[in-house]
């Protein structure tokens, strides 16, 4: 197991290099440079000169392989560089201030999805074609088909404007620092409620479907029949024998959704005015802020590789067949 893990980590290094090189090349191939957007006042003839100056400051006047080498030698020392935007802040600081909110939102969302999707999936699989199954199927398709922004706006109009129960946008009220500790927490939760609901709604649909599908396959297996034949209670058959095996594909999907945790949803963030990773990344792309884009991509790439590794290791642990197979 250990050698397997080490070997995987070793092979991840060239993979990571390849990913960064490709991303670097693709980003620089995209037409337009950060300096092209320095328009300022078009009547200022110096803007051409200002652009040239900025190209030198950013090092964009050098050939791309030199730029990549410089970037690479910095990144191995964990120096992500400085943003090209006029605040010139370190990339890590920019990502660092956006990451906690995005992580929080995504983790809460994922937990709720798991907590709801598994029972929904199991119930609709064990009662296939029942009323419950039909209703959840409709619900799930509505969830798939509902655009985030539309649902978000409807909920905002109802709870924010008409009823006035919930705040509309942002993370905290303006008088937040003057509130008592508990009021601060409830204020924060009130601000998070609708974004979480909206983000959960779409994800719930997919996950409960996976669960239902996986469960349906398992309950048709012969060992389930033999469990029933032994006279075990249906609760035990489903809850113990079937569920464990039905969870296997879910573990893989969960593992793969780990890197997604740091990527924010641009639509949800924009509508609820939440300063998260999605907005940072989109703004960086529009502004061609290469260091921020690359910093973000490196983190996502590393997380994806790590998540893959974890998923594979976990798979081995959950499923004895894989472990045994490898020892042979």
């Amino acid at each position: 197991m250990l050698t397997y893990a080490l070997r995987r980590i070793f092979f991840a290094i060239p993979l990571l290099l390849g990913i960064t090189f490709l991303s670097f090349a693709i980003i620089h191939l995209a037409p337009g440079e950060p300096t092209d957007l320095i328009q300022g006042d078009p009547r200022l003839e110096a803007s051409a000169q200002a652009r040239q100056l900025l190209r030198e400051i950013y090092g964009l006047d050098q050939p791309i392989h030199v730029q990549y080498w410089k970037w690479l030698t910095r990144i191995v020392r964990l120096d992500f560089g400085r943003s090209f935007s006029p605040d010139g802040r370190p990339v890590l600081a920019k990502i660092g201030e956006r990451l906690p909110v995005t992580l929080l939102l995504n983790i809460v969302e994922l937990l709720i999805i798991i907590a709801l999707a598994i029972p929904i999936g199991v119930l609709s699989a064990t009662r296939q074609y029942s009323m419950f199954d039909k209703v959840t199927t409709v619900f799930v398709f509505v969830g798939f088909a509902t655009p985030d922004f539309w649902l978000a706006l409807l909920l905002l109009i109802l709870f924010g404007v008409q009823l006035g129960w919930l705040p509309i946008s942002g993370l905290r009220s303006l008088n937040w620092e003057y509130l008592s500790f508990w009021k601060q927490q409830t204020d924060f939760l009130a601000h998070l409620l609708l974004p979480v609901v909206v983000a959960t709604f779409g994800g719930l649909a997919g996950f409960s479907r996976y669960m239902r599908q996986s469960m349906l396959e398992v309950v048709r297996q012969e060992y389930i029949q033999s469990a029933r034949a032994k006279g075990l209670a249906e609760r035990v058959v489903i809850g113990k024998h079937a569920l464990r095996n039905a969870m296997l594909p879910i573990v893989t999907i969960l593992g793969l959704s780990l890197p997604g945790l740091i990527g924010g949803s641009v639509i949800v963030e924009s509508i609820f005015a939440i300063p998260g990773m999605g907005q940072l990344m989109v703004q960086a792309v529009f502004e061609r802020d290469y260091p921020v884009i690359m910093g973000n991509l490196v983190i996502v790439a590393v997380l994806t590789l790590v998540a893959n590794l974890i998923a594979d290791l976990a798979y081995g642990m959950v499923d004895p067949r894989i472990r045994v197979g490898r020892r042979r």
Partner: protein, 551 residues
């Protein structure tokens, strides 16, 4: 909405929790009968801003959000008054030498930086040094490169000498002054962007002091008790909240979560007419100093023919276009100058909509035959071209669509393409690789159009995108920028306006209106040709209507 029932228990629970938590909402529903209530200090003004600011030293930022915030923190030597005329700010007076090459400023002697240090002539000299330092990444360098020599005669007098007479000399000193005692080392090292004043602690002389900036969330400013002009501004706090979605901004307005925001044309015209909104907000309308235009690529032989350009201009029904695109909330443009400003020539007539005349002109230019689909043909080739504009700008897309439909009636085959902004600039505009463009242009405060229409400005990096060349316009533009006497400049620009309206290298479509809404509890807002923000320190909320006590 069937699905909502699933979450109902959750929502109710949260609402109960909220009931006790003092989020301020509503509350200002009192009727607006207190027109003459006495000015009072206090309250917070929350402005919704679509974009995040990029820096706290606006001299090195290009985005309008940074400049909007910067305008409250910093001052220039001069500013613009309600009628867009240059007015004193940190300077009390100025004199030009008769040859327009020497400019002397007398400075106020009662101004202090936010950290208490006095503002002096040395800071002015330093700001110049910062702007022309080779490593300062500013787009506003040119104005300061034109200066040959600058010196502080005494603590409150500055002498500026220009290499040649420079028309924009005076207005260029509306640039924000920077504190020498804090920023000098950063400028010398070429690291102005990394100075703490650019991120966490800007120091200016303006009516508001910086409190905090949470990137992507908000910027908070507090009143400066020592503000040199009339003392402390009335409103105690100003919060710029970043709300990227226009739809959300509107919902916040409806729920009274923000006090000031820009409305879209649709919101202004159709969605804010109901009494509750009219009671809670005052809406304003004034021309934005910008023009939306349709540009030809004059390198294309078809468009090099003036009759073809005239035909296309005659075929566009501008009134209908404005009614559709901005619901009539704008002004017809006859040229690049804003109506009512001194460079604007009021005798220039708007180009009439006249389809028959358009067809006649095209026929004169040799476009007579039609192909099987009804498109005009010359030498066996149909008149087909492509209009480019930037993706994500709904207004420009609609314009392009309307022009497409209008020109189809004329027998021209027009395709549309929306291109992402950076790509559009790099691949099409700079390389002049387009047939026609729909774009907007911020006009700035000075009417100098040298870089937009002078024939020397047609290289890839330059802004004469239509590749327009006319010796008379060249001469007029050169003369217009070589004097500091406004009347002389006006004569040149009035003629430029006439020529451009006749030659139409670009079709000037309209000047869009800004449509801000401001909460009705704020008094002292006086709309003017320059907008509403010019007297922001004089805005106040009568004590009975004040809503936020913090700060």
């Amino acid at each position: 909405m069937r699905s909502a029932s699933l979450f109902a228990p959750l929502v109710v629970a949260a609402a109960l929790v909220l009931a006790g938590c003092g989020v301020e909402r509503g509350g200002a529903d009192e009727p607006v009968a207190l027109k003459d209530a006495a000015p009072a200090q206090g309250d917070t003004f929350i402005e919704a801003s679509i974009a995040n600011i990029s820096a706290l030293i606006p001299n090195i930022a290009n985005d309008s959000a940074s400049h909007e915030v910067g305008a409250l923190i910093y001052n220039g030597l001069v500013t613009y008054d309600r009628d867009l005329k240059v007015a004193p700010e940190l300077a009390t007076a100025w004199t030009f030498s008769p040859d327009c090459k020497h400019l002397t400023f007398k400075l106020r002697d009662d101004v202090r930086w936010h950290d208490g240090k006095p503002f002096t002539a040395d800071d002015v000299v330093f700001t110049h040094a910062a702007m022309v330092h080779p490593k300062t990444p500013t787009a506003y360098r040119e104005d300061f490169d034109a200066i040959e020599r600058i010196e502080a005669v005494d603590a409150h007098t500055v002498d500026v000498t220009y290499r040649t007479p420079y028309a924009k000399a005076l207005q260029s000193w509306s640039m924000y002054m920077l504190p020498k005692h804090l920023l000098e080392p950063y400028v010398k090292e070429g690291k102005l962007r990394e100075a703490p004043q650019n991120r966490t602690a800007p120091v200016g002389t303006g009516p508001y002091r910086f409190k905090e900036w949470k990137s992507g969330e908000k910027v908070v400013l507090v009143a400066n008790p020592d503000y040199f002009e009339a003392g402390r501004p009335y409103l105690s706090r100003v919060v710029f909240r970043v709300i990227p979605s226009q739809a959300t901004v509107f919902l916040e307005l409806k729920a009274k979560g923000v006090d000031g925001a820009s409305l879209t044309a649709l919101q202004y015209k159709r969605q804010t007419e109901y009494p509750a909104f009219r009671k809670a907000y005052n809406r304003f309308r004034y021309a934005v100093n910008s023009v939306t235009y349709f540009a030809f690529n004059l390198k294309d032989p078809r468009f090099a023919d003036k009759r073809v350009r005239h035909a296309i201009a005659h075929a566009i029904n501008k009134q209908e276009l404005m009614d559709h695109v901005i619901l009539g909330l704008g002004r017809n443009a006859t040229g690049p100058y804003l109506p009512g400003t001194w460079a604007f020539n009021s005798s220039v007539q708007a180009f009439p909509y006249d389809l028959a005349r358009a067809k006649e002109l095209l026929a004169q230019a040799g476009w007579r035959e039609r192909d099987s689909e009804g498109y005009l043909v010359k030498d066996g080739k149909p008149f087909a071209f492509e209009i480019l504009t930037n993706q994500g700008n709904d207004e420009r897309k609609k314009i392009a669509e309307i022009v497409q439909a209008s020109l189809r009636e004329l027998g021209l085959k027009v395709d549309l393409r929306m291109v992402e902004w950076a790509t559009l600039l790099k691949e099409h505009v700079r390389k002049r690789n387009f047939d026609a463009l729909v774009l907007g242009l911020g006009l700035g405060r000075d009417p100098d159009m040298f870089s937009l229409f002078h024939s020397s400005k047609t290289r890839p990096e330059d802004f004469n995108v239509a590749s327009y060349a006319n010796p008379e316009v060249d001469r007029l533009l050169e003369r217009g920028r070589a004097t500091c006497v406004q009347e002389e400049r006006a004569t040149q620009y009035h003629r430029v306006h006439e020529i451009l309206a006749d030659e139409i290298p670009v079709i000037f479509l309209y000047h869009r209106d800004a449509l801000p809404a401001v909460t009705s509890r704020v008094r002292g807002v006086k709309p003017s040709p320059s907008g509403i923000m010019y007297n922001f320190p004089e805005w106040y909320v009568p004590r009975e209507l004040q809503r936020y006590t913090a700060g």
